[in-house]
């Protein structure tokens, strides 16, 4: 059950120790969840679902925020 899994985050390969809730991944990455948005496999993950979204092998995450733009 606790085998490590490979996922992609913002285009970079990452290895997680085990299937992990998205909320724990974001906390571990030091991100302020009030200022980011997350897409998993091209589907939006609502903030309310971070704790119940379990990251699995092969998942592709996009984590974005607002920056300056015209």
């Amino acid at each position: 059950m606790s085998a490590s899994i490979d996922i992609t985050v913002n285009g970079e390969a990452r290895s997680l120790p085990a299937p992990l809730p998205l909320s724990e991944f974001l906390a571990g990455a030091g991100l302020d969840t009030r200022k980011v948005a997350v897409e998993r496999n091209e589907e939006i993950v609502p903030r309310s679902a971070y704790a119940t979204t379990l990251l699995g092998a092969g998942d592709a995450l996009e984590i974005v925020h607002f920056i300056g733009g015209g």
Binding site: V9, E12, A29, L31, A37, I44, I67, G68, G69, G70
Partner: protein
């Protein structure tokens, strides 16, 4: 008795509305291309803008604590208008704005689907496709578009809340390449029209407002000025001057002289 005439006060009630939100400032500014977030904040403050465009990009996972735009340009003070800059397909634009809605919690957005460099001209077929998907998904879409009266009308009829034809290519600073087309769009529109992109200096912002548009949107003209904060102030004044001139109604053009001083009472 003499009639006392007063100039319109600076605090007069002129305003415009989009998607149920009312704005007094007719200058919408971008937040990109500044040297620092401090300069961004100072320039936006000087511009008097109440609405700002922002981009959506991947977070830098190697520096999660880096200062963020929101810390300098607070979204509770400025209406954030997330854009789709860099999107060249309808699919990318829709994905980007769905993320923006989740990040910010609002659904007023700026759609732009761009053709290839060197012009980044609006790709109208892809823009129509993205606008349709976004409107169906509950977004309020302000849309960057070609200076084409038929395209602008079609976007309005689809349900876009504002149309934003270009003055000239993004970041070009060339001013209003085709004032006649912009005027045609403005005259036919029932939603707000913003001239977006191309404005290079304050007189061009004034010219856009004199055509009768509801607001102008610009970024590089401020950010790439030698003194961005001063240019922001100039743009604020230019937009206000152009708006007053439009409301005042310019005098007719006359191809002969018409002296202002009375021709009577001359000394002999």
């Amino acid at each position: 008795m003499d009639t006392v005439m007063t100039a319109p006060a600076d605090n007069d009630t002129d305003s415009w509305e989009v998607a149920g939100r009312r704005f007094r400032s007719r200058l919408v500014v971008g937040t990109g291309r500044y040297k620092s977030l401090e300069e961004t904040a100072a320039a936006i403050e000087a511009s008097g803008a109440e609405m700002v465009t922002v981009a959506v990009r991947r977070v830098n996972l190697s520096d999660p604590g880096a200062p963020m735009l929101q810390d300098f340009v607070p979204p509770d003070r400025y209406t954030y208008l997330p854009n789709t800059a860099g999107c060249h397909t309808a699919k990318d634009a829709v994905r980007t704005l769905r993320l923006a809605r989740e990040a910010g919690g609002w659904n007023l957005v700026k759609l732009e689907v761009l053709g290839p460099p060197p012009f980044l001209y609006p790709d109208m077929p892809a823009t129509f496709e993205a606008a349709e998907a976004l409107i169906k998904d509950g977004f309020q879409v302000m849309v960057y578009c070609a200076d084409d009266p038929l395209a602008a009308k079609r976007l309005e009829e689809m349900g876009c809340v504002a149309v934003m034809p270009l003055g000239a290519p993004i970041g070009s600073g060339l001013g209003l390449a085709n004032p006649f087309m912009l005027r045609s769009i403005i005259e036919n529109a029932r939603v707000p029209v913003l001239v977006d992109a191309g404005i290079g200096t304050a007189s061009e912002a004034a010219q856009a407002m004199e055509l009768g548009c509801d607001a102008v949107l610009l970024n590089s003209a401020i950010a790439h000025a030698k003194d961005p904060v001063r240019m922001a102030r100039a743009m604020k004044a230019g937009v206000e001057a152009g708006r007053h001139a439009f409301l005042a109604g310019r005098m007719p053009r006359n191809y002969a002289a018409d002296a202002s001083s009375p021709m009577t009472g001359l000394i002999r």
